[in-house]
């Protein structure tokens, strides 16, 4: 079966532009997570979605970041007015449900470069 997919795999943009990053979770997984990983660092939690519940946005670094999940499946992370410090790999993960064992299945990530 297909794993988590993300698109694009690489994105180069100019400072000030908006970008949209897409995540397709594993079919049937109700929980979806976004993380950011700067060069040589660990993962920074951004946001998670669980079914129809209100998302936990506590990790979003600023109001330039937003995310939505349509139909409980595909998710889009939007960064408005990008800054150079937004350059990072953005990773999406899904899991069967939040109350489960906690294993997360990761996509390959989107490498964002802001010039």
């Amino acid at each position: 079966g297909a794993g988590v997919s993300q698109s694009p795999s690489n994105k180069v943009t100019e400072k000030g532009k908006d970008v949209e990053l897409r995540c397709d979770p594993i079919s049937g997984h109700t929980a979806l997570y976004w993380y950011r990983q700067s060069l040589g660092q660990g993962l920074e939690f951004l946001i998670y979605f669980q079914g129809n519940s209100a998302p936990d946005k506590s990790g979003l670094p600023s109001d330039r970041f937003s995310a939505e999940r349509t139909g409980g499946s595909v998710s889009t992370l939007t960064i408005q007015r990008t800054q150079q410090e937004d350059s990072a790999v953005y990773l999406c993960a899904s899991s069967p449900d939040l109350a489960g064992a906690g294993e997360q299945f990761f996509g390959p990530g989107t490498r964002l470069t802001v010039l």
């Binding site: 660990g42 993962l43 939690f45 790999v89 906690g102 990761f106």
Partner: protein, 110 residues
């Protein structure tokens, strides 16, 4: 939320040797997970150990957890070139978030 701290930051070993890395944390956890990351892209789940477990094995991997010392170790036995990667511990507390450390970079020399 807390982060795990891995030690060492980097490790270089000869093929066939064992690799050991440690993760320490500060507050209580529900479980602790180890992930592997190749080439700075997606992470692969390796093993999960619950707070009431002390040791788990999976193939060439052995994980221990000492909740009194708030630390965990990951042992990779008989290392191979394909084990070259970054290894992260991830802490799961009751708020269902996973908190990742900065990772240990392992290089296995042929």
């Amino acid at each position: 939320s807390q982060q795990g701290e891995e030690d060492p930051q980097a490790l270089s070993i000869q093929e066939g040797e064992n690799a050991t890395m440690n993760c320490s944390y500060k507050t209580s956890i529900n479980n602790l997970q180890w992930y592997r990351q190749n080439s700075g892209r997606g992470l692969v789940h390796l093993i999960l150990i619950r707070s009431n477990e002390r040791e788990k094995h999976s193939g060439r991997l052995r994980v221990t957890l000492d909740t009194s010392k708030k630390s965990s170790s990951l042992l990779i036995t008989a290392s191979r070139a394909a084990d070259t990667a970054s290894y992260f511990c991830a802490l799961r507390s009751n708020d269902y978030k996973l908190s990742f450390g900065a990772g240990t970079t392992v290089t296995v020399r042929a």
